[in-house]
């Protein structure tokens, strides 16, 4: 993994830069600038801990206006910036750079408004995903996207990565559940996009910001839709003799017009690893296991339960077990939710991959993956958001064994190439970051990538925000327009302000 060559001149001015950033804050402001090497260690990596780098320094602002001040300063002095929420990215989205300032949003931790009349919550961007659901649980509401890191990950990070979760088959990703953001651009402008209403009146900049991986601006506030918790939720555990029959079951359920709240698949290695870890009661004789969650009105769930069981049996399921209590439902999920740490017990290190494929290609992809596993001599366990085709192969390796990390990286890249080859994509929900950056060419032509760079150039022409992420090569932004807009100059000046 190669990162852009750090600017030695910037690193040499480290202390001076940190001082200038500290000087941006008055004595009565609680914003912090961290330069102590021991304290900086906590910021060296995110959830993709195979890659580490000590940042120039870390700034922890407290208000949007302070973020604007920091970005305006960095823009003026051409200092690179990496934004960081809770640092749980699995693709290295918040990986620091040696010549960049990390702007941490941990002090943006307040829920600003809970508005049941409009069914929205307004939160600062450092608020954790789960705490939004907790704040509205008393009234029977919740926030739908539920990435497995939801206890720790921030809502601002969710916007940056367009995070998913096990329920996005029915309820959508972050992008489908966010109504508004407050964004600070690199030139220190504060932009409010969207709000408590639906849809933009002009270009959908909100949709563009969501999933932009910290390359377009820093989000300081987020407005999300909350949903009424369904009357009933129950899960079924369905064991299959082959991965093919499990795949056929997924296709048949969707073909029958049923969209479950969640539909997860695990392969034999994943079933065994999690069963040994949390004793969820998974069938150990199964080659593949499906967890199908149904939610909604009690009558509907009862009706669909029968139809799903019927479909499962018709494609050759070995066992169908439906949860009869909330405790049992949670136990069924406990195994799936602990899949990563469970696999972590089998090997010193693992990589979690994140490709998406058309569902029908699953048996083919699983077969190819076991061939690759034999080829590289590295184990792989599969958990899979089967409903939407999102694979999470966990590649096991030992970083202390020479050559193992490189082999694991190669194996991972082969899996993602395979995903693209069968009509899928490199990443379903973890983001490109640094991890899949160099594979972007597998999916996109140079011209395709140029269009994404056109967006980057519109927001950050000097490429100061999160450089080295997402794009394999940095393009210089050329001035295309015959009416190039300089900051400070007001476009639309001729329009009446209505």
């Amino acid at each position: 993994m190669r990162m852009p060559e750090p600017d030695a001149a910037v690193i040499a001015r480290k202390d001076e830069i940190a001082q200038a950033l500290s000087d941006l804050f008055r004595a009565d402001e609680k914003a912090a600038v961290i330069t102590d090497p021991v304290q900086l260690r906590a910021f060296e990596c995110d959830g993709l801990s195979a890659y580490r780098m000590r940042p120039l320094c870390v700034v922890l602002p407290e208000t949007t206006e302070q973020v604007a001040r920091v970005l305006r300063h960095c823009h003026e002095h051409k200092i690179k910036v990496v934004a960081r929420g809770s640092g749980t990215s699995l693709s290295g989205g918040a990986l620091p750079l040696a010549d960049a300032v990390v702007v941490g949003l941990s002090k943006f931790s307040r829920i600003l408004d809970i508005d049941y009349a409009n069914r929205v919550v307004v939160a600062q961007s450092g608020v954790t995903n789960l705490s939004i659901s907790e704040a509205v649980a008393g009234e029977g509401f919740y926030y739908a996207p539920d990435p497995s890191s939801q206890i720790a990950c921030s809502i601002g990070g969710n916007v940056a990565e367009n995070s998913g979760g096990v329920h996005c088959l029915k309820y959508g990703l972050t992008t489908n559940n966010v109504l508004g953001v407050e964004l600070v651009t690199i030139d220190g402008e504060i932009v409010r996009l969207g709000g408590r209403h639906l849809d933009a009146g002009g270009y959908d900049l909100l949709g563009l910001i969501t999933g932009s991986e910290g390359l377009l601006g820093i989000v300081t506030e987020v407005t999300v839709r909350i949903l009424r918790r369904p009357e009933v939720a129950e899960a079924a555990l369905i064991g299959f003799p082959t991965a093919e029959s499990a795949g056929a079951c997924v296709a048949a359920i969707i073909g029958a017009g049923i969209i479950p709240a969640g539909m997860e698949m695990m392969d034999r290695p994943a079933i065994h690893a999690t069963e040994a870890f949390v004793h969820a009661g998974y069938p150990l004789d199964a080659e593949a296991l499906l967890i199908v969650e149904l939610d909604g009105p009690a009558v509907e769930v009862a009706y669909l339960r029968e139809r799903v069981a019927e479909i499962a049996r018709s494609v050759g399921a070995n066992s169908v077990q439906t949860s009869t209590s909330e405790a049992e439902r949670l136990r069924f999920w406990a195994g799936r939710k602990a899949a990563f740490p469970a696999v972590g017990r089998l090997a010193p290190d693992y990589f979690c991959m994140d490709g998406t494929i058309p569902r029908a290609k699953l048996p083919f992809v699983l077969t190819r993956m076991s061939e690759m596993s034999a080829h590289y001599g590295l184990g792989v366990a599969n958990v899979f958001h089967a409903g939407d085709g999102n694979l999470h192969p966990l590649i096991m390796y030992d970083v202390n064994k020479p050559g193992d990390l490189e082999k694991a990286e190669e194996f991972g890249a082969d899996i993602l190439r395979l995903c693209v080859e069968v009509g899928g994509v490199l990443t379903g929900e973890h983001g490109v970051g640094v991890e899949k950056r160099d594979l972007m060419g597998e999916m996109f032509t140079e011209t395709d990538l140029d269009q994404q760079q056109r967006v980057k150039c519109a927001f950050d022409p000097d490429s100061l925000l999160n450089p080295g992420k997402v794009f394999p090569t940095l393009h210089r932004c050329v001035e295309q327009g015959r009416t190039h807009v300089h900051h400070g100059e007001l476009p639309f000046a001729h329009l009446p302000r209505l």
């Binding site: 849809d199 009424r228 009105p297 058309p358 967006v455 639309f492």
Partner: protein, 392 residues
Amino acid sequence: MVAAVRWAIAERQAFAVSGSGSKLGWGRPGEQTASLSLSALDGIDLYEPEELVLSARAGTKIAELEQRLAQHGQQLAFEPPDLGPLFGGAAGAGTLGGAIGCNLSGPRRIAAGAARDHVLGFSGVNGLAEPFKAGGRVVKNVTGFDLSKLLSGSFGTLAVMTQITLKVLPAPEEAQSILVFAAAANAAIEIMGAALRSPHELSGAAYLPARAAVRSRVAALAHGRSVVVLRLEGAAPSVAARRAALQDLLRGHGDIAELATPDSRVLWREIRDVTPFISDGMRAVWQVSVPPAAGATIVALASADDDVFFDWGGGRIWLASEHDVATTTIRIRAAVAAVGGHATLVRATDAVRRTVPVFQPPSRAEAVLIARLKDNFDPHRILNPGRMYEGL
């Protein structure tokens, strides 16, 4: 398409880009010198019902897509409005490219998302004659910037989409409605809010004041009482149970009636297509999007003789007025500014749309980004210049 844009660059021409042209009356009249029609670029390239995915050329008629999907019990869940008749044209003319280019979303927006939420990927050509693609054909995809969102609702001003891949969904077995006859807008907002906060999973919540209700073809509305319409879709037993529970919840709010699936479909189509305002000739029509609870306060600021009806639980207001368009727009946008949201002038004469900003004027900071995006995708101003904003 590439050749056409190259020609325009060489000859310094500017295109009015259209599908069937059914919504050419929406947006500013534009600054084009030539036209580029995608109506011949049609046909479904891929449809895999079990994968819930469909790809079609931009000029494919929405009606054709809906028919094909219906054969497999599926639908476009964002329920794209057929706005041709609102602009004085024929029904059923709208194309896929037009629906996505305008981000056209129907009443089910509140439950299923907007048009833009169903675009998985596309191929297109930008104003530099570069062909490119973005997104993919799978639902879960965060590989690179989400250009599908940027293009949805950009009215063809950044690039011309030639092929679009959509997420499709199962169509519900039943689509019934409950009618609550309630007089005033603020009472209607309360009823819709209570229903939407319940666990009964509504897929539509609208309010037709008497003047709009009386224009419906549905007999139950013919006596012209103001009415709240709540839609329940899904499997038959589920709809029946929710219908009963919803009636219990709303007892005491007004007379309640049920609407079976056939009548319900007619009524929601009327709401979707803004049918109550079609026959008004060229009376100006606005679409206003606000926080749903604020719907009634917006309407309170309207003139007594303005016509309105609500969709999206009060979050979308359709308003028709005979008053001077410029001053009415100022009045509406001032009201919107107080609660947050945006107002679009959907229908007005060419002359009016040349002078009155059709789309909500962006904030200063947002305007900078919009101008830079246009500069970067269409620097020579070839694609629908001026359709959204003057000079862009």
